[in-house]
Amino acid sequence: MAKTKKKKGLLFKVVAYSVCILLAILSILPFWIMFVNATRDTYQIQQDALSLIPSTHLFENLKILLGKTFDPLKGLTNSMIISTASTACTIYFSALTAYALVAYNWKLRGPFFTFILAVMMIPAQVSIIGFYQFMYKIGMTNNFLALILPTIATPAAVFFMRQFMVASLPLELVEASRIDGASEFYTFNKIVLPIMKPAMATQAIFTFVSSWNNLFLPLVLLTDSNKYTMPIMVSLLRGDIYKTEYGAIYLGLALTVLPLIVAYFILSKYIIEGVALGGVKG
Protein backbone atom coordinates (compact mmCIF):
# COMPACT_ATOMS: atom_id res chain seq x y z
CA MET A 1 0.00 0.00 0.00
CA ALA A 2 2.65 2.45 1.09
CA LYS A 3 4.83 1.32 -1.77
CA THR A 4 2.23 2.01 -4.47
CA LYS A 5 1.64 5.43 -2.95
CA LYS A 6 5.33 6.18 -3.12
CA LYS A 7 5.46 4.98 -6.72
CA LYS A 8 2.48 7.15 -7.58
CA GLY A 9 4.18 10.13 -6.00
CA LEU A 10 7.30 9.52 -8.05
CA LEU A 11 5.32 9.15 -11.26
CA PHE A 12 3.49 12.40 -10.49
CA LYS A 13 6.77 14.17 -9.97
CA VAL A 14 8.34 12.89 -13.17
CA VAL A 15 5.33 13.85 -15.30
CA ALA A 16 4.64 17.20 -13.63
CA TYR A 17 8.23 18.39 -13.67
CA SER A 18 8.79 17.25 -17.26
CA VAL A 19 5.74 19.15 -18.49
CA CYS A 20 6.68 22.25 -16.49
CA ILE A 21 10.27 22.21 -17.74
CA LEU A 22 9.05 21.76 -21.32
CA LEU A 23 6.69 24.72 -20.95
CA ALA A 24 9.46 26.79 -19.39
CA ILE A 25 11.69 26.04 -22.40
CA LEU A 26 8.80 26.98 -24.68
CA SER A 27 8.46 30.31 -22.86
CA ILE A 28 12.13 31.19 -23.04
CA LEU A 29 13.37 29.63 -26.28
CA PRO A 30 11.82 32.14 -28.74
CA PHE A 31 13.44 35.02 -26.84
CA TRP A 32 16.71 33.14 -26.52
CA ILE A 33 16.85 32.52 -30.29
CA MET A 34 16.03 36.19 -30.81
CA PHE A 35 18.89 37.40 -28.62
CA VAL A 36 21.35 34.94 -30.15
CA ASN A 37 20.40 35.77 -33.73
CA ALA A 38 20.73 39.46 -32.91
CA THR A 39 24.47 38.80 -32.62
CA ARG A 40 24.81 36.75 -35.82
CA ASP A 41 25.16 38.08 -39.34
CA THR A 42 22.93 37.33 -42.30
CA TYR A 43 25.29 34.70 -43.71
CA GLN A 44 25.39 32.73 -40.46
CA ILE A 45 21.61 32.85 -40.10
CA GLN A 46 21.17 31.73 -43.70
CA GLN A 47 23.42 28.75 -43.06
CA ASP A 48 21.54 27.75 -39.93
CA ALA A 49 18.88 29.95 -38.38
CA LEU A 50 18.82 27.97 -35.16
CA SER A 51 21.75 28.48 -32.84
CA LEU A 52 21.92 28.77 -29.08
CA ILE A 53 25.41 30.26 -28.96
CA PRO A 54 25.87 34.01 -29.50
CA SER A 55 28.21 35.23 -32.23
CA THR A 56 30.18 38.45 -32.64
CA HIS A 57 28.26 40.55 -35.14
CA LEU A 58 26.17 42.60 -32.73
CA PHE A 59 27.65 45.95 -33.73
CA GLU A 60 27.47 45.25 -37.47
CA ASN A 61 23.78 44.47 -37.03
CA LEU A 62 23.31 47.62 -35.01
CA LYS A 63 24.89 49.65 -37.80
CA ILE A 64 22.57 48.13 -40.43
CA LEU A 65 19.56 48.56 -38.14
CA LEU A 66 20.18 52.21 -37.38
CA GLY A 67 21.16 53.01 -40.96
CA LYS A 68 17.51 52.73 -41.97
CA THR A 69 14.20 54.04 -40.68
CA PHE A 70 14.08 52.10 -37.41
CA ASP A 71 14.87 54.51 -34.59
CA PRO A 72 14.68 52.73 -31.23
CA LEU A 73 15.75 55.79 -29.24
CA LYS A 74 12.90 57.86 -30.63
CA GLY A 75 10.41 55.05 -30.08
CA LEU A 76 11.68 54.58 -26.55
CA THR A 77 11.39 58.30 -25.74
CA ASN A 78 7.89 58.61 -27.21
CA SER A 79 6.67 55.45 -25.48
CA MET A 80 8.22 56.61 -22.23
CA ILE A 81 6.46 60.00 -22.35
CA ILE A 82 3.05 58.51 -23.19
CA SER A 83 3.26 55.60 -20.74
CA THR A 84 4.54 57.68 -17.82
CA ALA A 85 1.93 60.39 -18.25
CA SER A 86 -0.86 57.85 -18.80
CA THR A 87 0.14 55.93 -15.70
CA ALA A 88 0.23 59.07 -13.56
CA CYS A 89 -3.20 60.15 -14.82
CA THR A 90 -4.72 56.72 -14.37
CA ILE A 91 -3.57 56.05 -10.83
CA TYR A 92 -4.18 59.53 -9.42
CA PHE A 93 -7.64 60.04 -10.88
CA SER A 94 -8.73 56.45 -10.35
CA ALA A 95 -7.82 56.76 -6.68
CA LEU A 96 -9.70 60.07 -6.50
CA THR A 97 -12.82 58.61 -8.15
CA ALA A 98 -12.64 55.51 -5.97
CA TYR A 99 -12.38 57.76 -2.92
CA ALA A 100 -15.53 59.56 -4.01
CA LEU A 101 -17.24 56.17 -4.22
CA VAL A 102 -16.04 54.92 -0.85
CA ALA A 103 -15.85 57.90 1.49
CA TYR A 104 -18.94 59.89 0.61
CA ASN A 105 -22.59 59.09 0.75
CA TRP A 106 -24.09 60.76 -2.29
CA LYS A 107 -27.29 60.10 -4.10
CA LEU A 108 -25.85 58.86 -7.38
CA ARG A 109 -23.09 56.80 -5.80
CA GLY A 110 -24.81 53.45 -6.43
CA PRO A 111 -25.77 54.17 -10.04
CA PHE A 112 -22.31 55.58 -10.76
CA PHE A 113 -20.60 52.44 -9.50
CA THR A 114 -22.99 50.27 -11.52
CA PHE A 115 -22.16 52.36 -14.55
CA ILE A 116 -18.42 51.85 -14.03
CA LEU A 117 -18.93 48.10 -13.83
CA ALA A 118 -21.02 48.18 -16.99
CA VAL A 119 -18.53 50.08 -19.15
CA MET A 120 -15.42 48.34 -17.81
CA MET A 121 -15.16 45.90 -20.67
CA ILE A 122 -15.82 48.27 -23.58
CA PRO A 123 -12.72 48.16 -25.79
CA ALA A 124 -11.21 51.00 -27.81
CA GLN A 125 -12.13 49.21 -31.03
CA VAL A 126 -15.84 49.95 -30.83
CA SER A 127 -15.48 53.72 -30.64
CA ILE A 128 -12.36 54.14 -32.74
CA ILE A 129 -14.06 55.66 -35.81
CA GLY A 130 -15.81 58.35 -33.77
CA PHE A 131 -12.71 58.93 -31.65
CA TYR A 132 -10.46 59.33 -34.68
CA GLN A 133 -12.87 61.69 -36.45
CA PHE A 134 -13.27 63.74 -33.28
CA MET A 135 -9.50 64.03 -32.81
CA TYR A 136 -9.03 64.80 -36.50
CA LYS A 137 -11.52 67.66 -36.33
CA ILE A 138 -9.90 69.30 -33.31
CA GLY A 139 -6.42 68.71 -34.73
CA MET A 140 -5.24 66.28 -32.08
CA THR A 141 -4.02 63.44 -34.26
CA ASN A 142 -0.26 63.15 -33.86
CA ASN A 143 -0.67 64.72 -30.43
CA PHE A 144 0.29 62.62 -27.42
CA LEU A 145 -2.44 64.30 -25.37
CA ALA A 146 -5.04 62.38 -27.38
CA LEU A 147 -3.55 59.20 -25.92
CA ILE A 148 -2.87 60.54 -22.41
CA LEU A 149 -5.97 62.55 -21.44
CA PRO A 150 -8.51 59.74 -21.93
CA THR A 151 -6.68 57.66 -19.29
CA ILE A 152 -8.06 60.00 -16.60
CA ALA A 153 -11.23 57.93 -16.93
CA THR A 154 -10.16 54.28 -16.64
CA PRO A 155 -13.14 52.32 -15.27
CA ALA A 156 -11.22 49.10 -14.56
CA ALA A 157 -8.64 50.97 -12.48
CA VAL A 158 -11.38 52.71 -10.50
CA PHE A 159 -12.96 49.34 -9.80
CA PHE A 160 -9.66 47.89 -8.59
CA MET A 161 -8.91 50.89 -6.35
CA ARG A 162 -12.41 50.88 -4.92
CA GLN A 163 -12.17 47.22 -3.95
CA PHE A 164 -8.85 47.88 -2.24
CA MET A 165 -10.17 50.99 -0.46
CA VAL A 166 -13.27 49.26 0.86
CA ALA A 167 -11.04 46.63 2.42
CA SER A 168 -8.23 48.75 3.81
CA LEU A 169 -9.10 52.41 4.29
CA PRO A 170 -10.18 53.15 7.87
CA LEU A 171 -12.76 55.92 7.56
CA GLU A 172 -12.04 56.96 11.17
CA LEU A 173 -8.77 58.37 9.88
CA VAL A 174 -10.66 60.59 7.46
CA GLU A 175 -12.98 61.62 10.28
CA ALA A 176 -10.00 62.48 12.51
CA SER A 177 -8.46 64.57 9.78
CA ARG A 178 -11.75 66.48 9.42
CA ILE A 179 -11.82 67.23 13.13
CA ASP A 180 -8.29 68.60 12.79
CA GLY A 181 -9.77 71.02 10.28
CA ALA A 182 -8.14 69.65 7.14
CA SER A 183 -9.90 70.23 3.85
CA GLU A 184 -11.31 67.21 2.02
CA PHE A 185 -8.84 67.55 -0.83
CA TYR A 186 -5.92 67.82 1.58
CA THR A 187 -7.13 64.73 3.44
CA PHE A 188 -7.21 62.78 0.19
CA ASN A 189 -3.71 63.83 -0.88
CA LYS A 190 -1.94 63.59 2.47
CA ILE A 191 -3.76 60.80 4.29
CA VAL A 192 -5.61 58.59 1.83
CA LEU A 193 -3.01 58.39 -0.95
CA PRO A 194 -0.19 57.12 1.31
CA ILE A 195 -2.47 54.33 2.55
CA MET A 196 -3.28 53.44 -1.05
CA LYS A 197 0.38 53.03 -2.00
CA PRO A 198 0.35 49.21 -2.47
CA ALA A 199 -2.74 49.33 -4.70
CA MET A 200 -1.31 52.25 -6.63
CA ALA A 201 2.00 50.45 -7.20
CA THR A 202 0.25 47.36 -8.56
CA GLN A 203 -2.02 49.46 -10.74
CA ALA A 204 0.94 51.55 -11.93
CA ILE A 205 2.85 48.48 -13.16
CA PHE A 206 -0.10 47.13 -15.13
CA THR A 207 -1.13 50.50 -16.55
CA PHE A 208 2.41 51.24 -17.63
CA VAL A 209 2.87 47.88 -19.33
CA SER A 210 -0.47 47.98 -21.14
CA SER A 211 0.16 51.55 -22.27
CA TRP A 212 3.68 50.63 -23.42
CA ASN A 213 2.39 47.65 -25.39
CA ASN A 214 -0.67 49.38 -26.82
CA LEU A 215 -0.69 49.25 -30.60
CA PHE A 216 -4.23 49.92 -31.79
CA LEU A 217 -4.85 53.53 -30.72
CA PRO A 218 -1.33 54.85 -31.46
CA LEU A 219 -1.37 53.14 -34.86
CA VAL A 220 -4.58 54.96 -35.75
CA LEU A 221 -3.69 58.34 -34.28
CA LEU A 222 0.04 58.74 -34.87
CA THR A 223 0.89 59.01 -38.56
CA ASP A 224 3.99 61.19 -38.22
CA SER A 225 7.06 58.94 -37.97
CA ASN A 226 8.61 61.32 -35.41
CA LYS A 227 5.76 60.43 -33.06
CA TYR A 228 5.96 56.64 -33.45
CA THR A 229 5.82 54.60 -30.27
CA MET A 230 7.83 51.41 -29.81
CA PRO A 231 5.10 48.99 -31.01
CA ILE A 232 4.60 51.01 -34.21
CA MET A 233 8.36 51.31 -34.70
CA VAL A 234 8.63 47.54 -34.46
CA SER A 235 6.24 47.11 -37.40
CA LEU A 236 8.89 48.72 -39.63
CA LEU A 237 11.02 45.62 -39.11
CA ARG A 238 8.51 43.58 -41.06
CA GLY A 239 8.66 45.83 -44.09
CA ASP A 240 10.75 45.45 -47.23
CA ILE A 241 13.59 47.67 -46.08
CA TYR A 242 14.96 44.98 -43.80
CA LYS A 243 13.97 42.09 -46.04
CA THR A 244 17.13 40.00 -45.86
CA GLU A 245 18.89 41.73 -42.98
CA TYR A 246 17.97 38.89 -40.64
CA GLY A 247 20.42 39.82 -37.91
CA ALA A 248 19.21 43.42 -37.88
CA ILE A 249 15.57 42.35 -37.61
CA TYR A 250 16.32 40.16 -34.60
CA LEU A 251 18.36 42.94 -33.03
CA GLY A 252 15.53 45.43 -33.51
CA LEU A 253 13.10 43.03 -31.86
CA ALA A 254 15.58 42.37 -29.06
CA LEU A 255 15.90 46.09 -28.38
CA THR A 256 12.12 46.41 -27.95
CA VAL A 257 11.84 43.29 -25.79
CA LEU A 258 14.91 43.68 -23.55
CA PRO A 259 13.67 46.58 -21.36
CA LEU A 260 10.44 44.69 -20.66
CA ILE A 261 12.23 41.45 -19.75
CA VAL A 262 14.59 43.26 -17.38
CA ALA A 263 11.75 45.18 -15.74
CA TYR A 264 9.71 41.99 -15.50
CA PHE A 265 12.35 40.01 -13.67
CA ILE A 266 12.91 42.87 -11.22
CA LEU A 267 9.19 43.32 -10.53
CA SER A 268 7.99 39.74 -11.12
CA LYS A 269 6.97 39.17 -7.52
CA TYR A 270 4.61 42.14 -7.55
CA ILE A 271 3.34 41.39 -11.04
CA ILE A 272 2.38 37.79 -10.22
CA GLU A 273 0.73 38.95 -7.00
CA GLY A 274 -1.13 41.64 -8.91
CA VAL A 275 -2.44 39.18 -11.50
CA ALA A 276 -3.62 36.84 -8.74
CA LEU A 277 -5.34 39.74 -6.95
CA GLY A 278 -7.23 40.72 -10.09
CA GLY A 279 -8.65 37.23 -10.35
CA VAL A 280 -9.80 37.00 -6.77
CA LYS A 281 -11.45 40.38 -6.88
CA GLY A 282 -13.21 39.53 -10.10
Partner: protein, 325 residues
Protein backbone atom coordinates in the same frame (compact mmCIF):
# COMPACT_ATOMS: atom_id res chain seq x y z
CA UNK B 1 -20.11 73.12 17.06
CA UNK B 2 -23.57 71.96 16.26
CA UNK B 3 -23.44 73.58 12.87
CA UNK B 4 -20.24 71.78 12.05
CA UNK B 5 -21.78 68.39 12.64
CA UNK B 6 -24.45 69.13 10.14
CA UNK B 7 -22.02 69.89 7.33
CA UNK B 8 -22.88 67.62 4.44
CA UNK B 9 -19.93 66.02 2.74
CA UNK B 10 -22.05 64.48 -0.03
CA UNK B 11 -21.10 67.17 -2.51
CA UNK B 12 -17.47 66.03 -2.41
CA UNK B 13 -18.59 62.73 -3.88
CA UNK B 14 -19.69 64.66 -6.96
CA UNK B 15 -16.69 66.98 -6.98
CA UNK B 16 -14.12 64.19 -6.77
CA UNK B 17 -15.72 62.10 -9.49
CA UNK B 18 -16.12 65.09 -11.76
CA UNK B 19 -12.77 64.73 -13.62
CA UNK B 20 -13.59 61.10 -14.38
CA UNK B 21 -17.11 61.93 -15.54
CA UNK B 22 -16.07 64.84 -17.76
CA UNK B 23 -13.22 62.92 -19.42
CA UNK B 24 -15.41 59.87 -19.85
CA UNK B 25 -18.15 61.90 -21.52
CA UNK B 26 -15.74 63.61 -23.90
CA UNK B 27 -13.33 60.80 -24.79
CA UNK B 28 -15.46 57.66 -24.45
CA UNK B 29 -19.18 58.26 -24.56
CA UNK B 30 -19.19 60.95 -27.25
CA UNK B 31 -16.96 58.88 -29.61
CA UNK B 32 -19.24 55.85 -29.12
CA UNK B 33 -22.31 57.86 -30.08
CA UNK B 34 -20.43 59.53 -32.89
CA UNK B 35 -19.39 56.10 -34.19
CA UNK B 36 -22.99 54.94 -34.02
CA UNK B 37 -24.12 58.02 -35.98
CA UNK B 38 -21.42 57.55 -38.63
CA UNK B 39 -22.75 54.04 -39.09
CA UNK B 40 -25.91 55.54 -40.58
CA UNK B 41 -24.19 57.97 -42.97
CA UNK B 42 -22.26 58.09 -46.23
CA UNK B 43 -19.06 59.22 -44.49
CA UNK B 44 -15.97 58.03 -46.36
CA UNK B 45 -12.75 59.28 -47.87
CA UNK B 46 -9.60 60.71 -46.35
CA UNK B 47 -9.91 64.31 -45.15
CA UNK B 48 -13.61 64.54 -46.03
CA UNK B 49 -15.51 66.28 -43.24
CA UNK B 50 -19.09 66.52 -44.50
CA UNK B 51 -21.54 63.68 -44.50
CA UNK B 52 -25.24 62.96 -44.91
CA UNK B 53 -27.58 60.41 -43.49
CA UNK B 54 -28.39 57.63 -45.91
CA UNK B 55 -31.88 57.30 -47.40
CA UNK B 56 -31.98 53.78 -46.08
CA UNK B 57 -30.41 54.29 -42.63
CA UNK B 58 -29.47 50.63 -42.20
CA UNK B 59 -27.74 50.37 -45.56
CA UNK B 60 -24.24 50.09 -44.07
CA UNK B 61 -25.31 47.43 -41.61
CA UNK B 62 -26.90 45.38 -44.39
CA UNK B 63 -23.80 45.79 -46.55
CA UNK B 64 -21.50 44.76 -43.71
CA UNK B 65 -23.53 41.73 -42.69
CA UNK B 66 -23.57 40.56 -46.31
CA UNK B 67 -19.89 41.40 -46.78
CA UNK B 68 -17.90 38.27 -47.46
CA UNK B 69 -14.77 39.55 -45.71
CA UNK B 70 -16.69 40.54 -42.59
CA UNK B 71 -18.28 37.12 -42.32
CA UNK B 72 -14.90 35.56 -42.90
CA UNK B 73 -13.48 37.82 -40.14
CA UNK B 74 -16.18 36.78 -37.66
CA UNK B 75 -15.58 33.14 -38.53
CA UNK B 76 -11.78 33.51 -38.21
CA UNK B 77 -12.11 35.31 -34.89
CA UNK B 78 -14.27 32.50 -33.54
CA UNK B 79 -12.03 29.71 -34.87
CA UNK B 80 -8.81 31.32 -33.63
CA UNK B 81 -10.39 32.02 -30.24
CA UNK B 82 -11.58 28.42 -29.82
CA UNK B 83 -8.25 26.99 -31.00
CA UNK B 84 -6.51 29.11 -28.36
CA UNK B 85 -9.01 28.93 -25.51
CA UNK B 86 -9.58 25.18 -25.23
CA UNK B 87 -5.90 24.22 -24.89
CA UNK B 88 -5.35 27.31 -22.74
CA UNK B 89 -8.01 26.46 -20.16
CA UNK B 90 -7.06 22.76 -20.13
CA UNK B 91 -3.37 23.53 -19.62
CA UNK B 92 -4.20 26.12 -16.96
CA UNK B 93 -6.45 23.65 -15.12
CA UNK B 94 -3.82 20.92 -15.27
CA UNK B 95 -1.13 23.23 -13.91
CA UNK B 96 -3.54 24.50 -11.26
CA UNK B 97 -4.25 20.92 -10.17
CA UNK B 98 -0.53 20.24 -9.89
CA UNK B 99 0.42 23.49 -8.21
CA UNK B 100 -2.32 23.25 -5.59
CA UNK B 101 -2.09 19.51 -4.95
CA UNK B 102 -2.03 18.93 -1.19
CA UNK B 103 -0.59 15.44 -1.54
CA UNK B 104 2.28 16.10 -3.90
CA UNK B 105 3.88 19.39 -3.02
CA UNK B 106 5.82 20.71 -5.99
CA UNK B 107 8.95 22.77 -5.69
CA UNK B 108 9.74 25.77 -7.84
CA UNK B 109 6.11 26.79 -8.30
CA UNK B 110 7.02 30.45 -7.94
CA UNK B 111 9.75 30.12 -10.55
CA UNK B 112 7.46 28.34 -13.02
CA UNK B 113 4.72 30.93 -12.53
CA UNK B 114 7.16 33.74 -13.33
CA UNK B 115 8.42 31.96 -16.46
CA UNK B 116 4.96 30.96 -17.71
CA UNK B 117 3.65 34.50 -17.33
CA UNK B 118 6.63 36.09 -19.10
CA UNK B 119 5.20 36.09 -22.67
CA UNK B 120 2.12 37.97 -21.46
CA UNK B 121 4.12 41.05 -20.49
CA UNK B 122 6.03 41.39 -23.77
CA UNK B 123 4.73 43.72 -26.50
CA UNK B 124 2.35 41.68 -28.67
CA UNK B 125 3.51 43.53 -31.79
CA UNK B 126 7.10 42.40 -31.16
CA UNK B 127 6.00 38.84 -30.46
CA UNK B 128 4.01 38.69 -33.71
CA UNK B 129 7.02 39.83 -35.74
CA UNK B 130 9.32 37.51 -33.80
CA UNK B 131 7.11 34.55 -34.73
CA UNK B 132 6.98 35.78 -38.30
CA UNK B 133 10.79 35.57 -38.30
CA UNK B 134 10.88 32.24 -36.42
CA UNK B 135 8.56 30.61 -38.95
CA UNK B 136 10.37 32.26 -41.86
CA UNK B 137 10.87 30.55 -45.21
CA UNK B 138 13.27 29.37 -46.50
CA UNK B 139 15.42 30.72 -43.66
CA UNK B 140 13.94 30.35 -40.19
CA UNK B 141 14.75 28.72 -36.87
CA UNK B 142 11.63 26.53 -36.82
CA UNK B 143 12.46 25.16 -40.26
CA UNK B 144 16.08 24.60 -39.19
CA UNK B 145 14.88 22.65 -36.17
CA UNK B 146 12.41 20.52 -38.14
CA UNK B 147 15.02 19.67 -40.78
CA UNK B 148 17.62 18.86 -38.12
CA UNK B 149 15.22 16.55 -36.30
CA UNK B 150 14.42 14.88 -39.59
CA UNK B 151 10.70 15.64 -39.31
CA UNK B 152 10.64 17.25 -42.76
CA UNK B 153 12.98 16.91 -45.71
CA UNK B 154 13.13 20.54 -46.69
CA UNK B 155 11.91 23.88 -45.30
CA UNK B 156 8.13 24.26 -45.08
CA UNK B 157 6.40 27.49 -46.16
CA UNK B 158 4.19 27.83 -43.07
CA UNK B 159 3.16 31.40 -43.77
CA UNK B 160 1.47 30.66 -47.08
CA UNK B 161 -0.87 27.99 -45.74
CA UNK B 162 -4.20 29.18 -44.35
CA UNK B 163 -4.35 26.41 -41.77
CA UNK B 164 -0.85 26.85 -40.41
CA UNK B 165 -1.11 30.67 -40.33
CA UNK B 166 -4.33 30.43 -38.30
CA UNK B 167 -2.77 27.75 -36.13
CA UNK B 168 0.28 29.90 -35.41
CA UNK B 169 -1.86 32.90 -34.43
CA UNK B 170 -3.92 30.67 -32.11
CA UNK B 171 -0.72 29.19 -30.69
CA UNK B 172 0.74 32.64 -29.97
CA UNK B 173 -2.47 33.58 -28.13
CA UNK B 174 -2.32 30.34 -26.15
CA UNK B 175 1.35 30.84 -25.38
CA UNK B 176 0.77 34.40 -24.15
CA UNK B 177 -2.28 33.67 -22.01
CA UNK B 178 -2.17 30.23 -20.37
CA UNK B 179 0.16 31.51 -17.62
CA UNK B 180 -2.22 34.34 -16.81
CA UNK B 181 -5.19 31.98 -16.61
CA UNK B 182 -3.22 29.55 -14.44
CA UNK B 183 -2.28 32.28 -11.94
CA UNK B 184 -5.89 33.42 -11.69
CA UNK B 185 -7.14 29.86 -11.16
CA UNK B 186 -4.50 28.98 -8.54
CA UNK B 187 -5.30 32.14 -6.60
CA UNK B 188 -8.95 31.12 -6.81
CA UNK B 189 -8.14 27.73 -5.32
CA UNK B 190 -6.32 29.38 -2.41
CA UNK B 191 -9.58 31.19 -1.68
CA UNK B 192 -11.51 27.93 -1.20
CA UNK B 193 -12.15 27.01 2.42
CA UNK B 194 -9.43 24.47 3.42
CA UNK B 195 -11.86 22.69 5.72
CA UNK B 196 -13.64 21.28 2.67
CA UNK B 197 -10.38 19.68 1.57
CA UNK B 198 -9.66 18.34 5.03
CA UNK B 199 -13.08 16.72 5.15
CA UNK B 200 -12.49 15.18 1.71
CA UNK B 201 -9.13 13.84 2.84
CA UNK B 202 -10.72 12.16 5.84
CA UNK B 203 -13.23 10.58 3.48
CA UNK B 204 -10.28 9.19 1.52
CA UNK B 205 -10.79 10.85 -1.86
CA UNK B 206 -7.99 10.65 -4.41
CA UNK B 207 -6.28 13.76 -5.73
CA UNK B 208 -8.22 13.73 -8.99
CA UNK B 209 -11.55 13.19 -7.27
CA UNK B 210 -10.82 16.16 -5.02
CA UNK B 211 -9.96 18.32 -8.03
CA UNK B 212 -12.99 17.36 -10.09
CA UNK B 213 -15.62 17.26 -7.34
CA UNK B 214 -14.40 20.03 -5.06
CA UNK B 215 -11.99 22.40 -6.78
CA UNK B 216 -13.74 22.84 -10.13
CA UNK B 217 -17.26 23.42 -8.74
CA UNK B 218 -15.83 25.97 -6.31
CA UNK B 219 -14.04 27.75 -9.15
CA UNK B 220 -17.22 28.10 -11.22
CA UNK B 221 -17.46 31.88 -10.95
CA UNK B 222 -13.79 32.41 -11.70
CA UNK B 223 -13.94 30.01 -14.64
CA UNK B 224 -16.87 31.94 -16.05
CA UNK B 225 -15.00 35.20 -15.50
CA UNK B 226 -12.00 33.79 -17.40
CA UNK B 227 -14.27 32.52 -20.18
CA UNK B 228 -16.06 35.80 -20.74
CA UNK B 229 -13.06 38.11 -20.43
CA UNK B 230 -11.22 35.83 -22.83
CA UNK B 231 -14.14 35.95 -25.28
CA UNK B 232 -14.20 39.74 -25.21
CA UNK B 233 -10.40 39.84 -25.54
CA UNK B 234 -10.63 37.36 -28.41
CA UNK B 235 -13.15 39.57 -30.22
CA UNK B 236 -10.74 42.48 -29.95
CA UNK B 237 -7.75 40.46 -31.13
CA UNK B 238 -5.74 42.91 -33.20
CA UNK B 239 -1.99 43.14 -32.52
CA UNK B 240 -1.02 39.55 -33.30
CA UNK B 241 -3.04 38.99 -36.51
CA UNK B 242 -2.30 42.50 -37.78
CA UNK B 243 1.45 42.31 -37.22
CA UNK B 244 1.91 38.62 -38.00
CA UNK B 245 0.43 38.38 -41.49
CA UNK B 246 -1.71 41.56 -41.95
CA UNK B 247 -4.78 39.31 -41.83
CA UNK B 248 -3.43 37.08 -44.61
CA UNK B 249 -2.74 34.74 -46.28
CA UNK B 250 -5.99 34.99 -48.22
CA UNK B 251 -7.82 36.62 -45.26
CA UNK B 252 -7.30 33.50 -43.12
CA UNK B 253 -6.14 35.48 -40.04
CA UNK B 254 -8.37 38.50 -40.64
CA UNK B 255 -10.16 39.19 -37.34
CA UNK B 256 -13.03 41.62 -36.81
CA UNK B 257 -10.72 44.26 -35.31
CA UNK B 258 -8.28 44.01 -38.22
CA UNK B 259 -11.26 44.20 -40.59
CA UNK B 260 -12.48 47.42 -38.96
CA UNK B 261 -9.00 48.92 -39.05
CA UNK B 262 -8.50 48.01 -42.71
CA UNK B 263 -11.91 49.37 -43.74
CA UNK B 264 -11.36 52.70 -42.05
CA UNK B 265 -7.66 53.43 -42.13
CA UNK B 266 -6.29 51.86 -45.25
CA UNK B 267 -7.39 51.67 -48.83
CA UNK B 268 -10.71 53.42 -49.37
CA UNK B 269 -11.33 54.94 -45.91
CA UNK B 270 -14.86 53.57 -45.56
CA UNK B 271 -15.54 55.13 -42.17
CA UNK B 272 -19.27 54.48 -42.35
CA UNK B 273 -18.92 50.75 -42.95
CA UNK B 274 -16.20 50.41 -40.35
CA UNK B 275 -18.49 52.22 -37.88
CA UNK B 276 -21.34 49.83 -38.68
CA UNK B 277 -19.02 46.86 -38.11
CA UNK B 278 -17.89 48.43 -34.81
CA UNK B 279 -21.48 48.72 -33.67
CA UNK B 280 -22.15 45.07 -34.46
CA UNK B 281 -19.09 44.16 -32.37
CA UNK B 282 -20.29 46.50 -29.66
CA UNK B 283 -23.61 44.66 -29.46
CA UNK B 284 -21.89 41.29 -29.08
CA UNK B 285 -19.57 42.67 -26.41
CA UNK B 286 -22.46 44.37 -24.60
CA UNK B 287 -24.27 41.03 -24.29
CA UNK B 288 -21.11 39.34 -23.01
CA UNK B 289 -20.39 42.11 -20.49
CA UNK B 290 -24.00 41.91 -19.38
CA UNK B 291 -23.39 38.33 -18.37
CA UNK B 292 -20.12 39.24 -16.69
CA UNK B 293 -21.76 42.13 -14.89
CA UNK B 294 -24.41 39.79 -13.56
CA UNK B 295 -21.65 37.54 -12.21
CA UNK B 296 -19.69 40.30 -10.55
CA UNK B 297 -22.42 42.06 -8.60
CA UNK B 298 -21.39 42.68 -5.03
CA UNK B 299 -21.64 39.26 -3.47
CA UNK B 300 -22.28 40.57 0.03
CA UNK B 301 -25.22 42.52 -1.31
CA UNK B 302 -26.70 39.42 -2.90
CA UNK B 303 -26.26 37.46 0.29
CA UNK B 304 -27.90 40.22 2.28
CA UNK B 305 -30.84 40.19 -0.07
CA UNK B 306 -31.07 36.42 0.18
CA UNK B 307 -30.93 36.64 3.94
CA UNK B 308 -33.72 39.22 3.93
CA UNK B 309 -35.80 36.96 1.70
CA UNK B 310 -35.21 34.00 3.99
CA UNK B 311 -36.19 36.01 7.06
CA UNK B 312 -39.33 37.18 5.33
CA UNK B 313 -40.20 33.62 4.42
CA UNK B 314 -39.60 32.45 7.98
CA UNK B 315 -41.71 35.23 9.35
CA UNK B 316 -44.47 34.28 6.95
CA UNK B 317 -44.18 30.64 8.01
CA UNK B 318 -44.35 31.58 11.66
CA UNK B 319 -47.36 33.78 10.99
CA UNK B 320 -49.03 30.96 9.11
CA UNK B 321 -48.30 28.50 11.88
CA UNK B 322 -49.71 30.87 14.41
CA UNK B 323 -52.77 31.31 12.27
CA UNK B 324 -53.21 27.58 12.05
CA UNK B 325 -52.92 27.27 15.78
Amino acid sequence: MKQRKNVSYAKYGYIFSLPFIIVFLIFSLYPIFYTAVIGFTDYKGLGVTSWHFLDNPFQNFVTIINNHSFRQALYNTLVIWILNFIPQILMALLLTAWFTSRRNKMRGKGFFKVIFYLPNIITAASIAILFYALFGYPVGPVNSLLVKLGIVDGPVYFLISKISARGIVAFIQFWMWYGYTMIILTSGVLGINPEIYEAAEIDGTTGWQTFIYITIPNLKTILLYVLITSMIGGLNMFDIPKMFMQGGPDNSTLTTSVFIYNQAFSGSYLYNRAAAASMIMFLIIAVLSGVLFYLMRDKSEIELRKEAKRLKKERLMIAKEQEAL
